[in-house]
């Protein structure tokens, strides 16, 4: 038994088209112009003979983009799934954004990025443990902490302990300032502990191009580009975690600095963040890693066949030990069983799951489970000691099959119905056979009833001989059933008495009267035509 090396590969595309299930990673997808206010400055100089006047145009424009809140359509997917419990302890939360440039569409400090430069993402995914969420020193739900406010409320420093984002509100219009948004006030000590540093941020966002042909990847339903923002904190095991995508625009100077403790008095100050999206999930208690569990399998329970483990046999096997070892290798298990007479004995049992291929049992099928019991009568020669034990495997199979059938009322009813329909079909076939046997017999009886030969018998002789021949097997099979179920009687086809008119007609019609009578009885010919003048 071997187990092959585990693989943790992922299907990364390396240039060219994406194959099915492949994925391509991008450091960043930079919009040609970040969301900001711009001025288009056009200058045209016309060179005339003695002067060169310059005409200038100053065209202000702005590139809008998500800033303080996201539309529901911006978020493609969140991981771990919202409101779910699962083994997320060793996973980093992420949010998949439909707009491929979103994490880089603004600059964190409002500066204008030079062309070709990868800017620092302006969003970050924070993971909050229950102990991080407090209001007035008491544990609080996330819904109590995230408050609805406006852009103006976000940017305004309400009290000295507030740390709002450093965005100049004079650059925003009154309409923009009045836009609603969600914001959270995090203690600066918490923010310092869990927020990424300015150096961390570039690693925490990337873009992906996926091909979802024929395979589900990421649960995305379309080919294309997506951007991802990754959390920087592992979820707390066995607790309800809150993942929160926040805007860090204007907070570039408030971010923690690697290796430095939080500034003095941080616990008393609060950092105000615009919450773009947030969700809650529960990380179940740790259970280890899938591959580790799988790779430990050979060492622990092992890989093998379904056999009863046993201690090593001696090197020199007695015939009895040979038999015992062989039986165990074949998958048999010695089990105690109570016999019908009340004794307790040991018998062999083998499950349907056998470690070896099996030949067909030529002795089936059985109507009773006891017939499937096998007995090993014991020693027959020196090499094979025999066991002198019963093998109850197939008897058990028979018995549990019947018990399972009986325990399912619907199935038992269907089975009985099927059996009944089979019997009905047989009865029908039997009745047809009987009828065939009875008809010639009736005809024969008709001839014998009179005792004396009917005149003009010559013509009818052959017909009677034919009927007798057909009736012989029926006669040999002794008698017809004395009592037949009503529906199986063919009386309708065999009237005992012919109407007198028919009788007369049969006699009057030219030819053998007996033959005519038989023909009438069997309804082989239609009622005779009325006598015409054309008589012979």
């Amino acid at each position: 038994m071997t187990n092959t090396v585990a693989a943790r590969d992922i299907r990364v595309a390396s240039g060219g088209d994406l194959g099915p299930g492949q994925i391509q990673f991008y450091e960043a997808i930079q919009a040609p112009l970040a969301s900001n206010q711009y001025r288009l400055n056009a200058t045209q100089t016309i060179e005339l003979k003695d002067e060169a006047p310059a005409y200038q145009l100053l065209q202000p424009f702005s590139i809008a983009g998500p800033r303080f809140r996201l539309q529901p359509g911006n978020v493609q997917q969140v991981y771990p799934p919202a409101n779910l419990t699962g083994s997320y302890e060793e996973s980093l939360p992420h949010v998949v954004l439909r707009q491929r440039t979103l994490p880089w569409s603004r600059t964190i400090d409002g500066s204008v990025a030079s062309s070709g430069q990868v800017t620092t993402p302006w969003v970050a995914l924070l993971t909050l443990y229950p102990e991080d969420m407090t209001a007035n020193g008491q544990p609080a739900a996330v819904s109590d902490l995230v408050k609805q406010t406006t852009v103006n409320g976000l940017l305004t420093k309400a009290s000295p302990s507030d740390i709002p984002p450093a965005i100049d509100s004079s650059t925003l219009t009154a309409a923009e300032l009045a836009e609603p948004l969600l914001a959270i006030d995090l203690p600066q000590s918490v923010f310092w502990a869990i927020a990424p540093t300015l150096q961390d941020l570039p690693y925490l966002a990337h873009a992906r191009q996926v091909n979802t042909d024929g395979k589900e990847i990421l649960g995305l339903d379309a080919d294309g580009f997506f951007s991802l923002v990754i959390g920087n904190r592992l979820p707390q095991s066995g607790a309800s975690n809150v993942a929160m995508l926040v805007s860090l625009e204007g907070h570039q100077d408030h971010l923690p600095v690697g290796g430095q403790p939080a500034p003095a008095g941080a616990a008393a100050r609060t950092v105000r963040l615009a919450v773009l999206t947030s969700w809650t999930f529960t990380a179940a208690a740790a259970r280890g890693d899938f591959l580790q569990i799988m790779q430990n399998l050979p060492r622990r329970g092992g890989i093998g066949l379904l056999q009863l483990p046993h201690q090593d046999f001696a090197a020199q096997l007695t015939p009895a030990a040979t038999t015992a070892r062989r039986s165990l290798e074949l998958g048999y298990v010695p089990l105690l069983n109570n016999t019908r007479s009340g004794e307790q004995t040991t018998s062999w049992y083998r499950a349907p799951a056998s470690p070896v291929p099996c030949a067909d049992d030529p002795c089936g099928p059985y109507l009773y489970s006891d017939r499937a019991i096998r007995y090993d009568p014991g020693p027959d020669n020196q090499a094979y000691a025999g066991t002198g034990l019963f093998d109850l495997s197939y008897a058990c199979a028979w018995q549990i099959g019947r018990l399972l059938a009986l325990s399912d009322a619907a199935f038992a009813a269907a089975l009985l119905e099927w059996r009944r329909s089979q019997h009905a079909a047989q009865n029908q076939a039997q009745a047809t056979t009987d009828l065939g046997a009875r008809l010639p017999l009736a005809a024969v009886r008709l001839t014998a009833a009179g005792g004396t030969p009917v005149p003009h018998l010559e013509v009818g002789k052959s017909a009677v001989a034919m009927f007798l021949h057909a009736a012989t097997p029926a006669l040999e099979r002794s008698q017809l059933p004395k009592v037949l179920p009503h529906e199986h009687r063919a009386d309708a086809a065999l009237p005992g008495v012919l109407p007198p008119a028919d009788l007369l007609a049969a006699i009057d019609v030219p030819g053998d009267p007996l033959y005519n009578l038989v023909q009438r009885v069997l309804a082989l010919t239609p009622a005779p035509r009325p006598p015409s003048g054309d008589q012979t």
């Binding site: 038994m1 187990n3 092959t4 585990a6 693989a7 943790r8 590969d9 390396s14 991008y26 450091e27 060793e90 996973s91 980093l92 443990y129 310092w192 961390d200 690693y203 990337h206 990847i217 990754i230 920087n232 707390q236 690697g258 740790a286 259970r287 890693d289 899938f290 591959l291 580790q292 569990i293 622990r300 329970g301 092992g302 379904l306 056999q307 089990l335 499950a351 349907p352 056998s354 291929p357 067909d360 049992d361 099928p365 489970s369 197939y394 008897a395 058990c396 199979a397 018995q399 549990i400 099959g401 059938a405 325990s407 199935f411 038992a412 269907a414 089975l415 079909a425 047989q426 039997q430």
Partner: protein, 294 residues
């Protein structure tokens, strides 16, 4: 099951039956009965003790392969079909139709799972059935586990049944003799994550990731770096503050150093968020188990 098993006993019973009552051929077995018998042949409803008669045969954290004993399944069907036999005529009818019943049930069994899943039905063949029992905490932890079985020639085997018998015991039955099974973590979650070096119960966590190639130096992108043991790099946590916060910048340095030590970094030494993501993705783990038949 192979071909059409015809038992000597059954054949003689059938002839006897036909001679005595000229029975119609028992081919028109109602579909619900055939379906029920097919499920029975896949051991549905069978008490676990009948499958694993002794607990030592399936210890914790183990995988056990088996072949299905068709005689056992025939007896199972006989027992089930014999429910309510009240006369010798019933018995005769039963015995004359058992072979046909077993044949139809065996042929119908591979169609049950595709029909339930709405996938294409595999071509029915007479291959023997085999399977495995897996008892592991992984069964409990990864309910969406993906199982694929292959025969000795590497061909994929159709799955006839895949069920959790208990929270941690998985039963799989395949059409054909399985030589190798691949157990894969549910692949739908390609997310970033880390691996814990210590036991799950250990309060001290030491995280690492398994390094993957980046397409440089002929090391295929996304594929684990070759080597007898997995090439890993440690994941650094922020110290002194809140628990579980990854020091991303230092982790990136550690990954970059690990890649550089294994000559997997491009000559320019590029290491951006894209490379970071490739290294940190927790791909679906795939574990193969092979068995050597005696």
């Amino acid at each position: 099951m192979t071909g059409t098993p015809t038992h000597l006993g059954a054949e003689s019973f059938r002839r006897l039956f036909e001679r005595s009552v000229s029975a119609p051929a028992p081919t028109d077995i109602p579909q619900p009965i055939v379906d029920w018998m097919s499920r029975l042949m896949l051991l549905e409803g069978l008490p676990f003790e009948y499958l694993v008669p002794h607990p030592a045969m399936l210890p914790e954290e183990s995988i056990r392969f088996f072949l299905l004993d068709r005689n056992w399944l025939s007896r199972l069907i006989e027992g089930a079909a014999s429910a309510g036999v009240g006369s010798s005529r019933d018995g005769l009818q039963l015995l004359s139709s058992l072979d046909e019943l077993a044949r139809q049930a065996a042929e119908n069994a591979p169609a049950l799972r595709p029909a339930a899943l709405g996938i294409a039905q595999p071509a029915a063949n007479g291959d023997p059935w085999s399977g495995f029992l897996l008892r592991s905490t992984a069964v409990q932890g990864w309910p969406g586990m993906d199982v694929r079985a292959y025969d000795a020639s590497g061909a994929t085997l159709p799955t006839l049944r895949m069920d959790r018998l208990s929270p941690n015991i998985l039963l799989c039955i395949f059409q054909g003799v399985c030589a190798r099974v691949d157990l894969m973590e549910p692949p739908e979650t390609l997310h970033l994550g880390v691996l814990n070096q210590n036991k799950a119960s250990d309060p001290d966590k030491a995280y690492y990731v398994v390094l993957r190639g980046l397409g440089a130096n002929n090391l295929a992108a996304g594929v684990q770096l070759p080597g007898a043991t997995a090439r890993t790099a440690s994941v650094e946590l922020r110290t002194g503050g809140a628990a579980g916060v990854i020091d991303v910048a230092r982790t990136a340095q550690s990954l970059k150093q690990g890649l550089s030590d294994n000559h997997a970094l491009s000559p320019e030494g590029t290491f951006t968020s894209a490379e970071f993501a490739v290294e940190m993705v927790r791909a679906a783990g795939l574990q193969s188990f092979e068995q050597e038949r005696p």
